[in-house]
């Protein structure tokens, strides 16, 4: 494997800046790696739905030219990135993992796409996801499953399985995910990578194809905490095009990551959420989580147990609020203006064409959630379902407030289990939904959360994630804790967790 594809984003940026390597060489190395391991829907990692070879090389060449012109390059200039295919790009298709958008080329860049381009980040292509970001395994993608680089028979998590797998397979050092109920954090946990869901409103949603507007949040995915912090800084900050984006100074996450790497958490108060653990949690997951808590203590943190009694209702509330918003957000896919159109043979009415298109264009999970949401919002049911769920949401936010009055951060396992075999849960939606038990409360309350590698479960040798939750607009605390843990584990393991992952040389034809 090429040393360039093993490098951290910070190392690549420094090498490009110092003229040791060109951005074009870096981009080409990653494109080669993708060609080597990514494969197709049938075999290989299949992290990418679209690879933009020409665009990536052109963007890299532009960075090289800027450098040659003596321009000061940003901290991630020339670094390649994998973009979840739910973020719009004017020069690449954007499918949201759905047949209903197959071939659609958005006429505009998302705000974060634009910010990354301005920072000189080289977008390699668009990554696979569960349709409209609904799922925990990428098995709901209309374009085939993504495979976990740790074990190609297992799921890479979801919905952002493509972005996480691209990192774990060394196809890209940086990626963008979106997190509605855990879609950044759960894939990070099961692939041994870093995934951060910023505070709701911390990163613009303009150009993020909505799953559930009040829950969706884009965030950075990387192999190291500092890399994630640098990417966080590029994409975060107020956007006048997104009314829900917060008009405040972005927390200094880079400084926090640097400070954390020094390994001293003295004075930090950490709360272990009592309700997130126990029955239903895999033994190896609990063991690694307990190790991580012990490590936090060793690093100087004061660890206490905290109760968040309403977290137990999080999943139920989430599966009313999310489908309600989905049912409305997905209404626009009606074959009239873009995307798939079925049955327009001159004999059918617009309503019939809409109906046929939606029938064939949406997958089972999308349909399930549209129906659930339509029902939950219906007259006579609204108060009992959507209304009640909103109350639970408030109670969960209050649980967080009460907890953060006592501690600086909360911790839990990111997921109850490690990566499960492809196909195992496809026919059991409820079992699938349980993956997001620990991650959902942060989406409901809008606070910041992240998953960091915490080692391998003894029983299956697969990655486990440490879930850290911080108050609204205190995203820096995630990086502080994440970097401290990362540094301690690196010393213990002799490198990052991913260095223990199997090599994937030459799996693709």
């Amino acid at each position: 494997m090429n040393r360039l594809t093993r490098a951290k984003a910070t190392e690549l940026a420094a090498a490009i800046k110092g003229g040791e390597v060109s951005a074009v060489e870096v981009a080409q190395a990653h494109l080669d790696r993708i060609a080597e391991v990514d494969g197709t829907a049938e075999a290989g990692v299949h992290a990418f739905l679209h690879v933009d070879t020409d665009g990536a090389l052109a963007a890299a060449a532009a960075v090289d030219r800027r450098r040659a012109d003596g321009e000061e390059l940003g901290p991630l200039a020339g670094v390649p990135l994998a973009l979840k295919d739910v973020i719009t790009t004017s020069d690449m298709p954007t499918t949201a993992g759905s047949k209903i958008l197959e071939g659609w080329r958005p006429p505009y860049d998302a705000t974060i796409t634009q910010r990354m381009r301005e920072a000189g980040i080289v977008i390699l292509g668009k990554t696979n996801l569960d349709e409209f970001a609904m799922g925990s395994s990428t098995e709901n993608s209309a374009f085939g499953v993504t495979r976990n680089p740790w074990d190609l028979t297992r799921i890479p998590g979801g919905s952002g399985g493509g972005s996480a797998a691209a990192l774990a397979a060394f196809e890209a050092p940086l990626a963008i995910g979106t997190d509605t109920g855990g879609s950044i954090r759960q894939p990070a946990a099961v692939t041994g990578t870093v995934g951060v869901k910023p505070t709701y409103g911390g990163v613009s949603r303009y150009g993020l194809i909505a799953c559930a507007s009040s829950l969706d949040q884009a965030g950075p995915c990387a192999r190291t905490v500092l890399d994630a912090a640098l990417l966080h800084t590029v994409i975060a900050g107020h956007d006048p095009l997104d009314s829900t984006s917060i008009a405040q100074q972005v927390p200094d996450v880079v400084a926090a990551a640097r400070r954390g790497a020094e390994g001293d958490l003295t004075g930090l108060r950490v709360g272990v959420v009592k309700e997130l653990g126990g029955e239903g949690y895999q033994a190896g997951v609990e063991a690694r989580f307990n190790d991580a808590v012990a490590l936090l203590s060793k690093l100087g943190a004061e660890v206490v147990e905290v109760s968040c009694p309403h977290f137990a209702y999080g999943l139920a509330a989430y599966y009313l609020i999310l489908p309600s918003e989905v049912s409305s957000n997905l209404a626009r896919f009606d074959a009239m203006r873009y995307g798939l159109r079925v049955g327009d043979d001159g004999t059918r009415s617009a309503e019939e064409v809409m109906s046929l298109t939606r029938g064939q264009g949406f997958g089972a999970e999308a349909k399930r959630r549209i129906m659930l949401g339509t029902y939950a919002l219906s007259s006579g049911y609204y108060d009992a379902y959507y209304g009640q769920a909103q109350k639970v949401r408030t109670l969960i936010a209050r649980d967080f407030e009460a907890a953060f009055a006592q501690v600086d951060v909360l911790v839990s396992p990111t997921t109850p289990t490690t990566a499960f075999p492809i196909g195992e849960k496809v026919d059991d939606p409820l079992a699938m939904y349980m993956n997001d038990l620990c991650t959902i409360p942060s989406n409901l309350a809008g606070n910041a959360s992240a998953s960091f590698p915490a080692g391998l479960a003894d029983e299956d040798g697969l990655p486990v994630g440490l879930h850290v939750m911080a108050p609204v607009m205190a995203d820096d605390r995630l990086y502080l804790v994440g970097a401290a843990v990362e540094a301690a584990y690196a010393a213990q393991w002799g490198g990052t967790l991913l260095e223990q992952a199997p090599a994937l040389e030459g799996i693709a034809p």
């Binding site: 303009y206 150009g207 909505a210 203006r337 609204y382």
Partner: protein, 499 residues
Amino acid sequence: MTVTTALPSFDEAIATYEPVMGMEVHVELGTATKMFCGCSTAFGGEPNSQVCPVCLGLPGSLPVVNRTAVESAIRIGLALNCSIAEWCRFARKNYFYPDMPKNFQTSQYDEPIAFDGYLDITVDGETYRIGIERAHMEEDTGKSLHVGGATGRIHGASHSLLDYNRSGIPLIEIVTKPIEVPAAVAPAVARAYVTELRELIRALGVSEARMELGQLRCDANVSLRLPGDPYGTRTETKNVNSLRSVERAVTYEIRRQAAVISSGGTIVQETRHWHEDTGETTAGRVKEEAEDYRYFPEPDLVPVAPSREWVDELRGTLPEPPSERRARLQADWGFTDLEMRDVVNAGAVALVDATVAAGASAGGAKKWWLGEVARVANERGVALDDAGIAPGDVARVEALIAEGALNDKLARQVVEGVLAGEGTPDEVVAARGLVLVNDDAALGAAVDEAIAAQPDVAEKIRGGNLGAVGALIGAIMKATKGQADAKRARELILERLQS
């Protein structure tokens, strides 16, 4: 339901039944940009030339509220004596229609920006207080053009074209409380309400409120009941888009419903279409089940929480209420109630006011706007404002008359010329050579000719019959092609025949 028997007259209908009305008026705001994006709201652009990802509802796009639209909504609310919400949200109204790009309309549901107000209107000297339930903000839809059908309706069309230029234009929907007034004046009250509302919207400067351009659209809800009974089932007549139609549609619906109920039928809750040409309403598509819009708070927008300071500041920008303004102007102008009513009904209050401000007499201003200009505007089917003459032009014509440079007949030609687009009054005078002949040399010759031509008439005048002077003046006017100064001609005739 098809009614085959002849409808009762309006008087017959209200002899038995009492109407209850509810008016829903949509006002398109005159903001430069749309409700939730920066696209232009200009009317008449090439189809789909004023669109962006937001108003096309493209995946990933997000709305941002137009502050000026909120300001206009608050000012309308205040002018309608409403309470202004301290905190309110937008909501999504979910339903599928091709001209609605997101398949939901961003509107307000149970938290309108303004609520619980009233508007006083006057009909035949009687004042009625119309309760305002609410005024809320929402976005307009695009426009469907159905091609190939006989009537431009979707039925029978081969295909439809969609124009999204209108999509996202800010609307304020103003909903009245049930209007219960004496049956005999109900249609006139409906009309007076819309007239008054239009006047108010214009005075606020938030919209030109031109009904013929769809800037002010009215839906009329009507139900009938026997006196003392609870409300009957209502129908909602859509697209009632002129003041006259408001009155006619309400009248028709009262007669139609009376016929249905009298013959033992029941009124179906439905939307009905108003047909300007036949003066009738017809049933819209029958809904098999009640529409469920599945409203829920719009998660892509933050709540609107206008500070009390801002609301007070906006209160300070309100214009004089139209009714007070009319009373003041009527007194200033010295008009009778009847004269004032004519001006109001013609929608000419502001025009007369501006003309007076430009120096004309009130009577003169009224005469032109309700006379020559109204006639031409009617012929062309445009509003008075669009007839092609400005208040300043009318005032100038009046000034030329006062100076003695024009007489009435010439002045009418000048106005005609301005309306025909020939330029300003002075330009028309110059181009058409409309000069009043009042110098004694030129006029004297015409007078002498007239006397010579009609000696018998001259004899009568000499004999003291002054009524005969008109005949000579008529001849003089004819000879001078109307350009003679009649007053001076009369003086010259009398000088010659009575000295």
